[in-house]
Symmetry: C2
Subunit: 318 residues, 2 copies
Amino acid sequence: MKRLFMQEVATRDGFQNEKTFIETDDKIALIDALSECGYAKIEVTSFTSPKAIPALRDAEAVMAGITRRPGVEYTVLVPNVRGAERALGCGIDEANLVMSVSEPHNRSNLRMTREQSFAQLTDVIGVIGQGPVAVNVSLSTVFGCPMQGEMSADEVLAWIDRFAALGVRGVTLCDTTGMAYPSQVQALSRQVRERFPHLQLTLHFHNTRGMALANTLGALQAGVDRFDASLGGLGGCPYAPGASGNVCMEDLVHMLDLMGYQTGMDLERVLAASARLPGLIGHDTPGQVLKAGRRLDLHPVPEHVHTLSKQVANAERG
Amino acid sequence: MKRLFMQEVATRDGFQNEKTFIETDDKIALIDALSECGYAKIEVTSFTSPKAIPALRDAEAVMAGITRRPGVEYTVLVPNVRGAERALGCGIDEANLVMSVSEPHNRSNLRMTREQSFAQLTDVIGVIGQGPVAVNVSLSTVFGCPMQGEMSADEVLAWIDRFAALGVRGVTLCDTTGMAYPSQVQALSRQVRERFPHLQLTLHFHNTRGMALANTLGALQAGVDRFDASLGGLGGCPYAPGASGNVCMEDLVHMLDLMGYQTGMDLERVLAASARLPGLIGHDTPGQVLKAGRRLDLHPVPEHVHTLSKQVANAERG
């Protein structure tokens, strides 16, 4: 019964990709429901510029409105010093910093070179300081870049090294566009765990090519115990229109529970929270357990089977 | 580089669930295209009563029309002695017999008790005899029944024992409604391989709850080397409206190729064949690699990145 730690990203990674603005009160109510589900961490929102990501322009109001549950960490995305100052004013538990290990992806996504990003994030870490707020760095495209292709594991390790030297608590290996495959995940996760045993390591999968749950098995085999996922599988990918988004939280928890892992999650509450999403975002979500039911949500025996039973019983009697 | 054997079920398990009748010529053209893809086996059609499954009422015409490629086995579903006689008249390579290890599922799906099914399939095996036509038995709901719930591994092994005693070449463990999970798949596959080392063992997954690729990893860890899958992920499940069907062939091959397995498949041809499906069946399919592209199908670098590159170059120069 290995203990795993589940981290929800729907209200940040998911909502920032939605065209509909989700009302602040609805965000707060959803996060409050999520706080009762057993998460280790919830990525609440992003302190990016309201102009850059209008969907999350209410970051302060959301942080002020939610009811914090002891034992749950509330993390937020922080892109720069201005964002760090705003986030610190809200009493966050953790700042999640993002850059890509791929030069063209970082330029495309963040409109900076990787060195410019690193300099900016170094400043952010300086502002956050050694106080009570933890720092996590999410590294994008570590399993492949949609423009550059294969990424070198050595280069990924070198970037982790630079952030580890700055004293961050954790790193997240992000499969930003669903290019990871299980044996690759296992190999890279093992290297990172061996070289950085003191870092809190999270794996962040997208289900773009259907491999997210298989990749989770690869990570588990390497001893990873911490996973990002998104309620309902929210969070699209601009390079794969029509494809799935983040790995779906309830589908992931459903599988892990069945395998005997101790996720600490209340799957029924997670499913109930996921069922609220279509009403908030105005469309269906890619999650499958919500549609199909949990494995042992049984179905009634059809009427003709009872009739058949009587025939068989009569035949056996006669 | 372990050799795996891929078996296509779309034109039987997939098409029999479609509302639209697919024209005989279209079926033949699709199967001929599939014959060039590297499959070990193709389940062409079903010799059930045309009244029971009108979608496959053209079984003889399809079998007569396809061009058989040496090295590919052409198998068909055979439900009873009448079906066996029709199928033998078409020169099949293998007869695929089906029953469920769950009493309520067998009654619901085949409208017989399991003992009635076993007696009928024993007659079919007698008709096929010890000639050149192989017999495979597909056992439904071995990983769970949507009406009964958990299935006992001992009961599954007992059914395999009874068919092994009749001299069948192979058995297929079918996760008919997507209830299997990876550790369960690994444990049951291992038991079957240990107890029946001479049987050709196939695993047949449905992606109802998103676990099909993860379950494939469980089977691989138990040494399984033969997998059913369906082009485009065709093949719905009546107990899970809106959920996925069979595991998607191209998504499965894409993952296995990346992991270094030798599938013998030409993924490009498989994708081209899958791209024909929406035109035949009148709706989208759940496959993801067709939408997202293969892992290394790269995307162009956006224009603003080039502009940025010039700025950076100028800054570095200046």
